[in-house]
Subunit: 297 residues, 4 copies
Amino acid sequence: MEYNPAFISRSNFVKAAAIFSKPGKAELSRIAPQLIAWLRSRGYRVYVDRETQRYSEGDDTFDRVDMAAQKPQFVVVLGGDGTLLAAARAVSVAGIPVLGVNLGSLGFLTEVPLEELYSTLEALDRDRCTTETRSMLRCQLLRGGTAIATYDALNDVVVNKSAIARLANLDLYIDQEFVSSYKADGLIIATPTGSTAYSLSAGGPILTPLVDAFVITPVSAHSLAHRPLVVRDSVEVSVQVNTEEEEAYLSVDGQVGIRVVHGDRVTCRKSEHRVRLLRMQRTFFEVLRTKLKWGQT
Amino acid sequence: MEYNPAFISRSNFVKAAAIFSKPGKAELSRIAPQLIAWLRSRGYRVYVDRETQRYSEGDDTFDRVDMAAQKPQFVVVLGGDGTLLAAARAVSVAGIPVLGVNLGSLGFLTEVPLEELYSTLEALDRDRCTTETRSMLRCQLLRGGTAIATYDALNDVVVNKSAIARLANLDLYIDQEFVSSYKADGLIIATPTGSTAYSLSAGGPILTPLVDAFVITPVSAHSLAHRPLVVRDSVEVSVQVNTEEEEAYLSVDGQVGIRVVHGDRVTCRKSEHRVRLLRMQRTFFEVLRTKLKWGQT
Amino acid sequence: MEYNPAFISRSNFVKAAAIFSKPGKAELSRIAPQLIAWLRSRGYRVYVDRETQRYSEGDDTFDRVDMAAQKPQFVVVLGGDGTLLAAARAVSVAGIPVLGVNLGSLGFLTEVPLEELYSTLEALDRDRCTTETRSMLRCQLLRGGTAIATYDALNDVVVNKSAIARLANLDLYIDQEFVSSYKADGLIIATPTGSTAYSLSAGGPILTPLVDAFVITPVSAHSLAHRPLVVRDSVEVSVQVNTEEEEAYLSVDGQVGIRVVHGDRVTCRKSEHRVRLLRMQRTFFEVLRTKLKWGQT
Amino acid sequence: MEYNPAFISRSNFVKAAAIFSKPGKAELSRIAPQLIAWLRSRGYRVYVDRETQRYSEGDDTFDRVDMAAQKPQFVVVLGGDGTLLAAARAVSVAGIPVLGVNLGSLGFLTEVPLEELYSTLEALDRDRCTTETRSMLRCQLLRGGTAIATYDALNDVVVNKSAIARLANLDLYIDQEFVSSYKADGLIIATPTGSTAYSLSAGGPILTPLVDAFVITPVSAHSLAHRPLVVRDSVEVSVQVNTEEEEAYLSVDGQVGIRVVHGDRVTCRKSEHRVRLLRMQRTFFEVLRTKLKWGQT
């Protein structure tokens, strides 16, 4: 760590942690203040997002997108996989590790139950946590050849039809080579992390977290021969929108929705950013078995 | 037929036929006038929809929904399955048979190729065509317990999420009994006819046309254990919309799109109306083999 | 158990019940004698199969196939779905109702848990049980045009490749009309009852028990366009074995295995026999939800 | 054929080629002698397998397994994917490239049509062919902890139930970590090359040839939540046979069948051997589009 504590003027804090919370969870009024108090008692400066701010006093509040600039040592996410996806995208640029605590059922990304929160933080404070690095997709929306929007996705990039459209016409290219035209509800490009999310529901395979690949999964493809396609994560995946009259939408991690039009091109590559997940004892296969209820017949 | 030819004043026509055309097909400028001339030469009064009217002169033009009132002996559809679905819904109320002519590739419903059009009409004129009766779904949208819209569907009734929503929460009931909650892109209720359309793309089975059943197929269900469900066509299938913040839509045969809100209920029963398809020599399995390219390895 | 066997003579019995047990279940040494005693105390003559006979004394023992001739009022199956399938086939010829008691996890057919056995029998004894009638498949194996074997199936009839064969070549006919050739691991013809068994694992839909249909589900079909096919249960489904060098097998309810050769034909129709299942309070959808863990996310 | 064999002596050969043929193809009597003559006219010594030997004279005949020792510059396979799989396994140990010529329909591995055979060989002779390297699986069968058989697979390693068994009980381990127990017809471990073969029929995804991964695909898994699993090709995949009474079999590339028993363990790793496929102009996606009939609606 290159900082010099002597130059820290704002406070005596030499460590910092950030908290992101899922909106609208009643139990946060109990959990958030406890967590903040615990962190402060261990000498952490605490940054909170606008949601968490409702349950805290005197802590530094930032919008999600500005949080990375504060360079906390780690982020605690109180919520579900959706909250973690937003937090991860916000801080991945700074390589800050994320700890996902589920307020409810086990998530693929929020694997720490509330009752293990403090023991996990203890371990983290003593540097006894390991991080697992997850790849992200860098997605660009090109209109008339110009990039008009850029996003990082931890789970997936989806181009899909609108609710009232019958289907979307999408052309897939890998490294500029034409692969196929798809008449479908949509096309999902997912990371290994995202392979257990929407792609799985649409019939895609499970990729273990460290496979150097992406999976391209069509949703309700008109042709029965269109199947999920696993490609190296060093390629460029492009989806050309050929839907003339019908509407289509681009979404990123299920959270950003932007209308796309005929001729638009959505291009995905491996992002230079990666998400560092703080993990405790659960392995990927343990989470799989629990979430998918394997072996409970 | 109860009419008395002596009372027909408008013309010498004792027979009538109607034509529905797919919008925007260039070849109609050649095909439609020929077809109209042929029908008139055989003594048919010819009714045309607004699309066909562009290619005709002096024929009676009606909006689709009013066509049934003219009681043509049969309807010729020039186009694809989409055009036939609209025509079939319009005239099913009067039990008028429909002949589907494809302008392009074979359809499941428009199985007569253009080159067989006149030989088929000859057979039809000599009463040597058989009709195949297809069941329809009667769908009601209930809001606050009141039916605010009613539709007949030849293919399917679909409740699905909007493009930017993450998923829809839908509760399924069969004859008022709760079956399951679905977190999914949508739920399809399809007739046997519709089982080869959207339901098939979403992973549903093929029902032969005369099976007395409907199939309920979830689209990208969150739970991997949710599978297509085949029920008797004497039951009532209801879908309760539990999606609170997110948008959802009801569509009928892929053509009617209406926004539904939390608490709405979509109820489907077998319709009293049925569609009579004029068929020539092709059997259902021949069409299946051609459309799905079975056996072409 | 309070009854005194000394007072019961054979001629006092006006009622009879039969018991079939799953081989090798240790708990039967406790359960079977209790059940026999209970039945005798209520005035039932008790017939047992060879497995149950190991745990009983002085009861009438019959092979499964001969049990129907004794015409018990009902059959109690102690075991799983496999045991019930065998019992049902044995007694369906006489229309004897079957009560399935699971010794372990809930089965689709053995839905009564052990702790409800005696309350169910009480209800049954007072004629307050309803029976649900399930259709069966009558399967014939034809070699050189001659029927060399005939079976009734409650779940399914399967023609599949041997373990070391690469695939089976099977031609499907519906009412003598050729449907398609399948290169596949096998073809399953299932009743609605069997739709939740092997057919479901192979990708087939769930048919509610009273749908008048069968489902034909290919297993690992070479062609991706081959999908489960639901047909009316009034048709004849035939599978012609075209596998020249490779071995293929016919199995019935997963229990009878017979080698079939090139040119053999397996023909299925709805059987004249039906299975009467004694049901208590659980509906089909309740069993589905529990067995498939619907809604437990 | 213009060359005069009288002028060719063994010592004149500085190059060598081998030919493997698919058994029982009538057209080989025309094709094989022509090919041999062409190769000799270009100064190749020609080695043939026992099948090809039926159509040749004076050429050196070897069993498939001994062919690699002759170190030909390349192998020409006349046949289908099955013949190529056998040839590839035989010569991969020596890194000899393989040219697959299809006698009939396009194969995923035998992509050169007969009419392009000689132009391809010309290109090959002038060193203008590229080779594509495909990874293989090294599979070991362990009984009581001892390896009793070892195989290399280009497509897949399969453990499956016998035809008359109801299902196989298989435990999956990745790098010694337990993943899940499978009740299924079988488990397929496939290379990217094999992902378009049996695994695809069983519901697996398509892996592009250069993805550094294997895919583990269950066949008709009892649990609906068991899905294909894509793992890095640096891991060890083990399948433990837990099937007590039932029979199970191990097969390699659909060609080797060996009975396995309770307690056996099948272990797969990336092989040190790789297959070098000679490719001309067709890309993987072109072959996919043709084989799977993508875009032909």
